[in-house]
Amino acid sequence: MHIVCCVKQVPDTTQVKIDPETNTLIRSGVESICNPYDLVAAEVAVQLTERYGGKVTVISMGPPQAESALRECLALGAKEAILLSDRAFAGADTLATSYTLSQTISRIAAVNPVHLVICGKQAIDGDTAQTGPGIATRLGYSQFTYVSEVVSVDVENNTIKVKREIEGGSELIEGTLPALLTVELGLGIPRYASLPELARALRQDIEVWGAGEIGALPERLGLRGSPTSVHRIFAPPVREGGRVFDSTENTERAIEDFVEVFFEKESPLLEHLLSQDKG
């Protein structure tokens, strides 16, 4: 079985902050990491090849530095890695990204047929969850998003059975291969790479493909192929603080003051709430 995993290098977003006064980014110490959802996707792919045989190819679109995200996946057990790096890819929104990735997968499949494509549910920098379904739609693959369990894959009969998380519960669904899955974080825990695997991952050659290698139409790539554009960025609106009741001196008094003010200022709201409660 041949599985392709799509991964993205992202800034460790919990560390990115904006200075509300100067409206500039505070990026000291912001590291680039492989999107955690995509690491789970790679782990799941490797586990499936351990169960059913076959190999995993990881692909990533990004600047040359994105290579390190691919190496993380090689260390998990992926066999091949391709970096999609070309100036023409820069500035892509999800539509152009899904075009680039689907073109790449078509090229890979022409040489070595692809049974499964596995993506993380979403990337932590954009949280859009749009790229996976976009790729499946372009390739015409069966599409299963929010997968929480791969129940079985039957390459001989070309079928796959998965469990998906949807509103109000989960669904067990069966479809044909090739298929694209987007996976939840809970589906697997990326393993710690062994030393030999790590060494292999660091030494392995990573192919770099550009627009020419994937046979892409230039007008559908990157900035030119992106219908959406960022108009402006700003710090999130800050709510103005209100009254402060300090109880360090006298707790009793502070609470009395608060209740007094609160019930006076918010009386329409409270009367409505409390009367509703009784009804």
Binding site: R87, L95, A136, Q143, G169, T228, I255, S275, K278
Partner: protein
């Protein structure tokens, strides 16, 4: 303005302002810009001083002082004739035979947008036996409802729903399409946007209209909620956006509203479709309360993560007719279940009154509660982020303050009831 060795005036990047979007990298005609440590960098010798990077930069991170006007960036593929597209459409999701609440919230927002554009609100409904939902859509504010009623649409399959929705989009040609950012909505939005080769912006928290270009201004949090970005889709239609539940206000239902309902057919995809074998409903806990619909929330933070005080928090919540919720560390500590977590990785809430007890207010928490009507923060730290945005900040030890607060509120409620019985 700096010059290179050839004497050309060149553009300069302010690294602190660069958001790493790479738009300039793609726009530069000579490949003079590269990404280094997440920031764009211009090679001064390669730069030809054309200023195109300056034009596309959304963050004003590029200095380019040659006198020229900042032009609107006409990027993208062959643009569609945008004038042919009219109306603000909402995809109305069906849940257990009824319209999902988020869809009605979007109809409310669509009314506002359509008002500015002087156009109609259109409801798109897919499913089986959906006639009553069509009538409800009109009561909530749709002018015209288009539906496809077919047995194959009973459960969601991406290709089938994709075909049906794309068919409606091609027939009706709305300029805007809004969908709820639910698992189904996000999935379907991406499938249809890809099929229509148009722009899609996920999880918007603000929608407005730029009247000059009849453009939808789609604002969403990015970088984990630390930055807001306004996104445009200039040359493609429909302009598509998903919006999370409870971000927009639920409109009033008006049964006397009138509108049209049209039923359309569609060509179902013929290839072998996935088969849903089983649906396993998440078991509902006996004491499950939905924190997203409680009018009052008592939210337990990391600093109040103590089993002994849980009954006290429940008492306060009960007194106000509310529910107990919490921040992420409290779930991680195992004090309360995930269903009660507020914030980016939990639920988005907007209660009438939010009472945060020792909640510091990390940005990931704030994005999930900042549209609450009134915020009360109880904390020892006067400088905690939540305290700074609270309408009422109570500074001190919660173990001393909460019991007194309960007494104080009880007394007030009794006086309310006294007043009510006199009436």
């Amino acid at each position: 303005m700096p010059k290179n060795s050839k004497g050309r005036e060149i553009a300069e990047i302010i690294p602190e302002k660069c958001i790493g979007c790479q738009l300039c990298v793609g726009e530069c005609p000579v490949g003079a810009i590269v990404m280094e440590d997440g920031v764009a960098k211009i090679d001064p010798e390669a730069c030809i001083g054309c200023g195109r990077c300056f034009d596309v930069c959304p963050a004003d991170a590029i200095i380019f002082e040659k006198p020229r006007k900042k032009r609107m960036t006409g990027v993208g593929q062959a643009p569609v004739p945008v004038d042919e597209y009219k109306g603000v459409a909402v995809f109305i999701e069906i849940r257990e035979g009824k319209g999902a609440e988020v869809s009605w919230e979007l109809v409310g927002k669509a009314r506002e947008l359509a008002g500015k554009l002087n156009t109609q609100v259109l409801g798109f409904i897919l499913g089986t036996d959906i006639k009553p939902v069509g009538e409800e859509a009109i009561a909530y504010g749709c002018d015209v409802v288009y539906m496809i009623d077919a047995p194959l649409l009973k459960a969601y399959l991406p290709k089938v729903y994709g075909n049906a929705l794309v068919h409606l989009l091609e027939q009706v040609k709305p300029e805007i399409l809004l969908l709820g950012a639910t698992p189904l909505g996000r999935d379907l939005a991406s499938v249809s946007a890809t099929r229509c080769e148009t722009g899609l912006t996920a999880d918007c928290t603000g929608l407005d209209i730029d009247l000059q270009g009849r453009l939808l201004l789609m604002t969403r949090p990015t970088f984990g909620g630390n930055i807001m970005a306004t996104i445009l889709c200039r040359n493609h239609r429909p302009q598509m956006s998903t919006v999370r539940p409870r971000v927009m206000k639920l409109p009033e239902k008006d049964g006397s509203r009138r509108g049209e309902i049209h039923t359309l057919d569609f060509a179902a995809p013929e290839d072998n479709l996935p088969r849903i074998i089983d649906f396993i409903a998440t078991p509902v806990e006996a004491d499950a309360e939905d924190i997203t619909s409680a009018p009052v929330l008592v939210v337990v933070g990391k600093g109040a993560c103590d089993t002994r005080h849980l009954p006290m928090f429940r008492e306060l919540a009960d007194l106000m007719g509310g529910a107990v919720a919490c921040s992420r560390p409290v779930v991680q500590a195992g004090l309360l279940p995930y269903e009660r977590q507020v914030g980016q990785t939990g639920k988005t809430v907007a209660p009438k009154i939010y009472i945060g007890i020792a909640v510091s207010g990390a940005v990931q928490h704030l994005v999930g509660m900042q549209s609450s009507d009134k915020i009360i923060a109880i904390n020892t730290d006067r400088n905690a982020p939540l305290v700074r945005i609270a309408d009422y900040a109570l500074i001190g030890d919660y173990t001393e303050m909460v019991p007194r607060l309960i007494k104080g509120i009880e007394a007030r409620i009794q006086s309310f009831e006294g007043k009510a019985s006199k009436r």
